[in-house]
């Protein structure tokens, strides 16, 4: 039951191996530790702070359309799911 959300890479920081991604209307920092050869404009699947793998733009748009269809993805900026509490991952 676990969704991985496609996100577009908008900035890469090679020193920290992280990137800024656009996820819905929100910009988030993610780790690129588990992927190679990603650049600005690529789409990656994001799961709890890690880019899991690169996907094509077509696949990303298709998946995002499905997510919008079930009314989960709200393209609005300003809000965030930030939390200072502990966060875990999984699938």
């Amino acid at each position: 039951m676990c969704l991985a959300i496609p996100a577009e890479i908008i900035e890469v920081d090679p020193d920290s191996d992280t990137a800024q991604v656009a996820l819905g209307g929100v910009v988030k920092e993610i780790s690129l530790a588990l992927v190679t050869d990603v650049t600005v404009g690529d789409y990656v699947l994001v799961h709890v702070g890690y880019a899991l793998n690169k996907i094509s733009q077509d696949e990303a748009e298709h998946t995002l359309a499905l997510i919008r269809e079930i009314g989960m993805l709200q393209d609005e900026s300003g809000a965030s799911d930030a939390s200072d509490a502990g966060a875990g991952r999984s699938a």
């Binding site: 676990c2 969704l3 819905g24 899991l52 997510i67 079930i70 989960m72 609005e76 699938a91």
Partner: protein, 391 residues
């Protein structure tokens, strides 16, 4: 925006009788309604796009449900290969926890390099099991797999696990580490973060924390599950499932409760953090062997003999976090209803095993309490991110 994948909010409260726990979930349990009105083949191709974390378990349960609903009896070889796909995915999911999350509990860096290797090898195993990419399509009759490519990739994954987790070959670990004494010897003689974390939990006594009475999900037949998933309360059931009024547990601990090592640990330490983490390691090692020797047990995913109404099908997969069940109803070539019952809804039910386990924690200062709560949540392993609110 809220996280579209959903999150768990786990809140601990002090009461005169100890801790109480509130668990709220924003997981999109009704998302499978998206498939209503679509053709079975389209559903089977869309579903893994959406549920891409445990995509093999999801796709396997999906194709099982759709084949069943469409009156197709899958080729036994296809069923066996699908089970191997799910097993390889479960190994990858457990290794994610063991390599990336467990070192953090020792204040050490995650072993990202080993996880990159794991992902690449598991991808090779997927390719070897499903050379033509048809295995997870409804009605698959002639799957093709490459035994030599599978053996090579699975053996490399076993080597990686030996080097970064076990300190010895997985087969040797399975044969040797079957008693409390052997477990103690192993985790004190090996320098991997996994072994050191388990030794630390054993020595500190924290491994005993979170003990709860066993309430495993029984082996329910297809007819019983289908009745719950098609009944008037089906939407509530998939969000907060219970069986005979009790939220049950479906985890690696319930799957491996009868093994010599886990039952010895439970007898000595209770069904706490240590027994749960060891069950995850034991499952990883057991599945690595089963994939290589082709000896997977159908277990709880074996089709039951119950006859379901025409057009209704049930599919199951032993996903990393527990039993995953899909129900499909197909009418005139279109999906009329689709429900997914995922293990996280059982295990993280507001009155489920995590909630009971957290309520047993002794009071402690905030940093220690937070670490123990994180350990317990990780040991029961939700499939989404979680937020903790500690008093």
């Amino acid at each position: 925006m809220s996280d579209p994948a959903g999150r768990l909010n786990i809140q601990l409260r002090r009461t005169p009788h100890g801790f109480a726990c509130d668990i709220a979930s924003t997981r999109p349990v009704a998302a499978s309604g998206l498939f209503r009105g679509r053709a079975p083949t389209e559903t089977a191709s869309l579903l893994p796009l959406l549920y891409s974390i445990c995509a093999k378990a999801q796709a396997s349960a999906c194709v099982g449900a759709l084949d069943h609903a469409c009156g197709m009896d899958p080729d036994p070889e296809a069923r066996r290969l699908r089970q191997s796909l799910v097993a390889a995915e479960t190994v990858r999911e457990h290794l994610w926890r063991i390599l990336l999350d467990w070192p953090l509990l020792l204040d050490e860096e995650p072993d990202r390099h080993a996880m990159i290797g794991t992902q690449s090898l598991v991808k090779r195993i997927f390719g070897a099991l499903d050379s033509d990419g048809v295995l997870l399509s409804p009605g698959c009759e002639k799957p093709t797999s490459s035994r030599s490519a599978l053996a090579e990739a699975a053996s490399a994954l076993a080597d990686l696990t030996a080097e970064r987790v076990l300190g010895l070959a997985p087969d040797a670990w399975l044969e040797r580490v079957t008693t409390l004494g052997a477990f103690d010897d192993w985790c004190r003689s090996v320098e991997t973060p996994a072994a050191r974390l388990l030794a630390d939990l054993h020595d500190s006594g924290d491994g005993r924390l979170g003990h709860t009475e066993a309430s495993p999900l029984p082996d329910l037949d297809d007819g019983t599950l289908a009745a719950e998933l098609r009944g008037p309360e089906a939407a509530a059931f998939v969000a907060r499932p219970h069986w005979r009024g009790v939220p049950r547990e479906t985890t690696p601990l319930t799957r491996y409760a009868d093994s010599a090592l886990v039952s010895a640990l439970v007898a000595d330490q209770g069904r706490g953090i240590l027994a749960r983490l060891v069950a995850q390691i034991l499952e990883t090692v057991s599945l690595l062997r089963a994939i290589r020797t082709d000896e997977l047990d159908a277990g709880s995913t074996a089709p039951s003999d119950t006859l379901l109404p025409a057009g209704v099908g049930l599919g199951r997969a032993d996903a990393a976090r527990g039993l995953l069940v899909h129900l499909a109803e197909v009418d005139r070539g279109r999906v009329a209803e689709y429900r997914i019952l995922a293990p996280t809804e059982w295990n993280f039910h507001p009155d489920g095993v995590l909630s009971s386990a957290l309520a047993t924690l002794p009071d402690a200062e905030e940093t220690l309490l937070r670490r123990r709560v994180q350990l317990l949540v990780m040991a029961i392993d939700p499939c989404v991110a979680f937020d903790l609110v500690i008093p």
